[in-house]
Symmetry: C2
Subunit: 320 residues, 2 copies
């Protein structure tokens, strides 16, 4: 797992560290999982007769617009890979993957609202409220958030596991997790963040909790032991932070064409970032260290943890 220590700014470095076949196999596996997630999201928001009879078309279309709008599908893929790392077929964890992605999609809709980040563009497309109006966008977010818990409660075969997943997701997405992190981010607009510890604490809640939850839910469904669950959770927090650092680096270095959203926005808004605190090179090193740490957590899974190791490296190579 020494490849995690390679310079993370060049995709060549990572590719060299693995046999080409491994990298290709991973890329293929990732593409397969993403297609499966896309199909499952579609099915979970499908126009069945009972849905058409009860859900106004504007709300249905608005929910589907944001839930099926592509994107990296990182969170649901993590659920599936965690399940697979335990030796369990990925299909069993698809409901949890769908639920988690619905939470992520709702949070993007609400974050983009004029009263929040006021973004017009997301994944290269107009944001939800630009297309459907603010009122419907608020309701679409509420609808996806609520549907996530419905999917967990009704589609996971083991009741004990389903209930644990509901508790995991509600905790990770709620006031002590993602919603709290978003509120802290808002508060930072008037009381600027002055230390790296504060910045990490916000990322921990805004991104880390939900990524760790992806791993924990996948692990629970996969039948992970308590030790394995704890390791998966730590892996999630480590890659969550690495992901955020990579995001900050992309904002400094990327272009809006590649990202499908506005870049250099953070610096322009005077927002605290990793490169702002540490500089670009040290930020890259910190991301690489976190990936190494994440890979270290996978020892309990043996060869079955290899996809997750690949994914952690992929996360800081996102500009492709």
């Amino acid at each position: 797992m020494s490849a995690a220590h390679a310079p993370v700014s060049s995709s060549t470095a990572v590719k060299d560290a693995f046999p080409a076949t491994d990298a290709e196999a991973f890329t293929q596996h990732l593409a397969t999982l993403r297609r499966q997630v896309e199909a499952a999201m579609d099915a979970s928001l499908a126009d069945r007769p009972d849905i058409v009879a009860n859900v106004p078309p504007s709300l249905r279309e608005s929910m589907r617009y944001s839930a099926l709008g592509g994107g990296k599908r990182l969170r649901p893929v993590l659920v599936l890979l965690a399940c697979e790392a335990c030796g369990t077929p990925v299909a069993q964890s698809m409901p949890a993957a769908v639920a988690l992605e619905m939470i992520h999609c709702y949070s993007l809709i609400h974050d983009d609202l004029p009263a929040m980040d006021d973004d017009d563009l997301r994944r290269g497309r107009p944001t939800n409220h630009i297309v459907y109006g603010e009122a419907t966008a608020i309701l679409a977010g509420d609808g996806l958030l609520t549907r996530a818990f419905e999917v967990l409660a009704t589609e996971i075969p083991s009741k004990d596991v389903a209930l644990a997943c509901v508790a995991d997701l509600a905790s990770a997405a709620g006031w002590c997790g993602m919603v709290g992190g978003q509120a802290a981010d808002l508060a930072a607009e008037t009381t600027p963040i002055t230390t790296l510890a504060e910045l990490e604490q916000i990322h921990h809640r805004k991104t880390g909790r939900l990524l760790a939850c992806a791993l924990t839910m996948g692990g629970r469904i996969g039948g992970a032991s308590a030790l394995q669950l704890a390791a998966l959770s730590r892996y999630g927090f480590a890659i969550g932070l690495a992901f955020q650092i990579a995001d900050d680096l992309l904002d400094v270095e990327g272009t809006s064409e590649k990202l499908g959203k506005q870049t250099q926005k953070d610096a322009g808004a005077g927002k605290a970032t990793y490169p702002g605190f540490l500089g670009v090179e040290a930020s890259r090193q910190r991301a690489a260290d976190l990936v190494a740490q994440a890979c270290g957590e996978l020892e309990l899974f043996g060869p079955q943890g290899e996809w997750l190791a690949h994914l952690s490296r992929f996360i800081i190579e996102r500009d492709h």
Copy 2:
């Protein structure tokens, strides 16, 4: 249960139909349950050290402002009374009562937003976004919605019952239920409602589903049989509609002083209402018929259903 057929516009009529002691005992019981709900809501959003460490003060205060802002507490009281009707102590159903009320409170915060109903006043106090700003109000709603599922998943002793309650609540509050009803209500602003059936369908989703869910969750926790659960659900739908008719009548007849919110707003906005379709007298009769029907559903519960019968009559006597 003939009192349900008495004219519902005069509280004297209903009081005459029951021994004064019954009415007093009910009023006392209701006050006790409301106090218990208030205390449980407070405890569930309390400033514990782990909350203070993770939830920014603005979000915490905003969530508490709307969740502890008084109100009738009709929905949580229904949960408790349904549990009690099955011969089970009300305390066991308090987590479900709290969760349901959190859903109701979140929906009010989001409904009041400028992009939605744009209300400045709720329960005689400034609405959440007037006090905390729109961004925090959106997050407070999201936080309460998510916390509701956390409470259900972690505080109901029986895992089977807890999971069934999560499924009930997510279905009742989601795109096919409350959120869908709200979207249909929005759509009616541009495509006006022309039939009573359409109006009832919107109320069914916007109010009825959540009230029926209150009864079903309380019944589940109380150990209701399948027949009893179905009866409780029908009772919930009947009083939900009666409640909405009473609300429409209050809007025609009430004053903003009594209600703590603007009245005669519906007619002014050209909104479809029961009195608009049926006239005032026929609307009163329909409400009374629905209460009679609701009381009829309580036969399976014997004397233990008496508090629910009282409550159904109380609902259409809300102007006191």
